[in-house]
Amino acid sequence: MTPADPIIQVRNLTCAFGENVIVDSISFEVNRGEVFVILGGSGSGKSTILKHMIGLYTPRTGEILFEGEDLVLSQGDARRAIMRRFGVMYQSGALFGSMSLLENVRLPLEEFTDLPIEAMNLISLMKLDLVGLREFARHLPAEISGGMQKRAAIARSLALDPSIVFLDEPSAGLDPITSAEIDELILDLARNLGLTFVVVTHELPSIYSIADRVIMLDKRTKGIVATGTPDSLKDSEDEWVRNFFRRTSNSISE
């Protein structure tokens, strides 16, 4: 991993709904192979930025470049080609309720590869195995717990082995052990396969264990208040950032 190898570049991004500006002209870069965490209080626009980055919303102004190609301006097949490069896990899981977990994971493979069905089943089962759900492959999403749905959604986001994975609150609602396993999986995939992760989360233990770099959003300024490694943010000049990291990290060490 070289620091000068940005895979995603966000320039002067302004996200707004009508009159309501959520973030105002922010810029940042995500490097290839790093785990990049977007952090901030509730309502600071973390998920909104993520949804702009994956092309669900159109920004008011600004550019979002994937390996130099602009997602905002691209259209049709070019846009779909960019979007196929990333996997997304939504906050609620967003599994298809009428399909079993296996079919959920298999769907992107069916749509975008020519693999024989047996191979698709094998790969889907492998993805489910990564998140510890192989035994539940035949279950419907409604038949498993919320945490399991979340893990199945991670498996689905990895189905096509994307080079970039967006995770919206992957560990919220999971027990600490499962959440640590998910963290380990993220690190494993990032270190060994060079996948890039963009993660929205508030879970500090998880940030300390996985994050290469963090950007912190502030609702008051509608911008980025701090950027850096988790350890450097602990000693940030901004009092709010310092408190955010220290207070919670103290309570963890206790």
């Binding site: 490069r85 089943n121 094998l122 195995d129 990895l158 082995d161 494993d188 270190r191 060994n192």
Partner: protein, 377 residues
């Protein structure tokens, strides 16, 4: 490297009993599917006792590539043959080692549904019995709820009831006006042609009046309500059930039947007769429009209508409408409460509410016909 630039090639060499398989390039989601089927068939046909994969040439290997290696390993394990991977980079082998090939033995037949006909019949019968049971239980709860409301009318959420009365009643006025007017018009028009051959076109007034007021007015109103409001109740309560809002009510100690079902049932049952009156009027108006178009004076038409219609006919129709309204709302709510989990479940409940609602209306209408005949109405 951009995904489009990646390629993989493989070569197979036979050395005695063992098979040497060498890869060169990037084994990933772009490249692996292209060689998957061919390679698997070749290995299968060779039937060797040992397969050795030379992985030195693999520059990159993602989950799909690991899947291909695992598939080869699995095939060898299945027929008790040996498998070995040489020189696979540590960063990829750690991913392969996560998996045990024996865990994936059944992925060929994972989709096969195994239930046979007797089993399906049994399950179906069990399901129908279960539904019948919940329906009877629901009817009981509804009766108890209505009894309680009769004793303490202040306890009902009347504000909700008025809101549903507005949604199911007032908002349905335009569509009911239009449909009943057209039904009256079409019926008159279709019957006037054959009747004219006998010089009996004046009796169109009798025909339209009797069939609209006794039968079609209440029936059409009820069918429209089943499509508009019964389905809406099922979807609304079904979504609440999926979002655990119904559970939240129960844990507050609030009876879902009292809170959700009674206001809807009472409101719908009360507005349906009113809508039926409107439907009757519009149907007659439709008939009159055709009659005046065919040079039957309006006065004559109205007079014939009043001559043939009895108060009993009107009241009989309205009583039917009241019962239909209650049935539609109750079935819609029942289907909503029976909703299981997930988006499809809400769709299923909505469909069932309309189908069951219309079925119930027609059955009830049959019963009413026999009853009225015996009562001489």
């Amino acid at each position: 490297m951009k995904p489009s630039n990646r390629t993989v090639e493989y070569s197979i060499d036979r050395a005695g009993d063992s098979l040497q398989l060498a890869f060169e390039g990037s084994l990933d989601v772009q490249t692996a599917p292209k060689i998957w089927e061919e390679l698997v068939t070749k290995i299968e046909e060779s039937d060797s006792q040992k397969v050795v994969v030379e992985a030195k040439g693999i520059s990159y290997c993602d989950g799909t590539g690991i899947g291909l290696l695992l598939q080869l390993q699995r095939m060898q394990v299945c027929r008790n043959a040996d498998f070995e991977i040489k020189n696979l980079s540590d960063r990829f082998s750690s991913l392969l080692e996560r998996y045990n090939p024996e865990d994936f033995a059944d992925c060929d037949k994972i989709d096969a549904s195994t239930s046979c006909l007797p089993e399906q019949v049994g399950r179906g019968a069990h399901h129908i019995l279960g539904e019948l049971k919940t329906m009877i239980a629901f009817l009981g709860e509804l009766a108890v709820g209505l009894f309680k409301v009769a004793l303490h009318p202040g306890k009902l959420r009347w504000r909700d009831a008025f809101l549903y009365a507005e949604k199911a009643g007032v908002d349905a006025i335009p569509i009911i006006t239009l449909i009943s007017f057209l039904i009256g018009l079409i019926m008159a028009f279709q019957s006037v042609v054959p009747m004219k051959q006998f010089g009996a076109e004046i009796f169109v007034a009798d025909l339209v009046a009797l069939s609209v007021v006794k039968e079609l007015g209440p029936l059409m109103t009820a069918i429209i309500l089943a499509g508009r409001s019964g389905s809406a109740f099922a979807a609304e309560i079904g979504t609440m059930k999926v979002n655990e809002e119904v559970n939240a009510l129960t844990t507050f100690g609030i009876d879902p039947v009292h809170f959700l079902v009674l206001p809807r049932v009472i409101a719908t049952a009360c507005v349906t007769p009113l809508l039926a009156v409107l439907a009757n009027f519009c149907g007659l108006l439709g008939g009159a429009t055709v009659a005046t178009g065919l040079n039957i004076p309006l006065v004559v038409y109205v007079q014939r209508t009043f001559n043939i219609l009895q108060v009993d006919d009107l009241m009989g129709g309205l009583v039917k409408a009241f019962v239909f309204g209650a049935l539609i709302a109750a079935i819609g709510c029942l289907r909503g409460i029976q909703t299981e989990k997930g988006a499809t479940a809400v769709g299923d409940s909505t469909t069932k509410s309309v189908v069951a609602g219309i079925l119930a209306i027609i059955i009830a209408d049959g019963i009413f016909s026999v009853m009225y005949y015996n009562l001489g109405i």
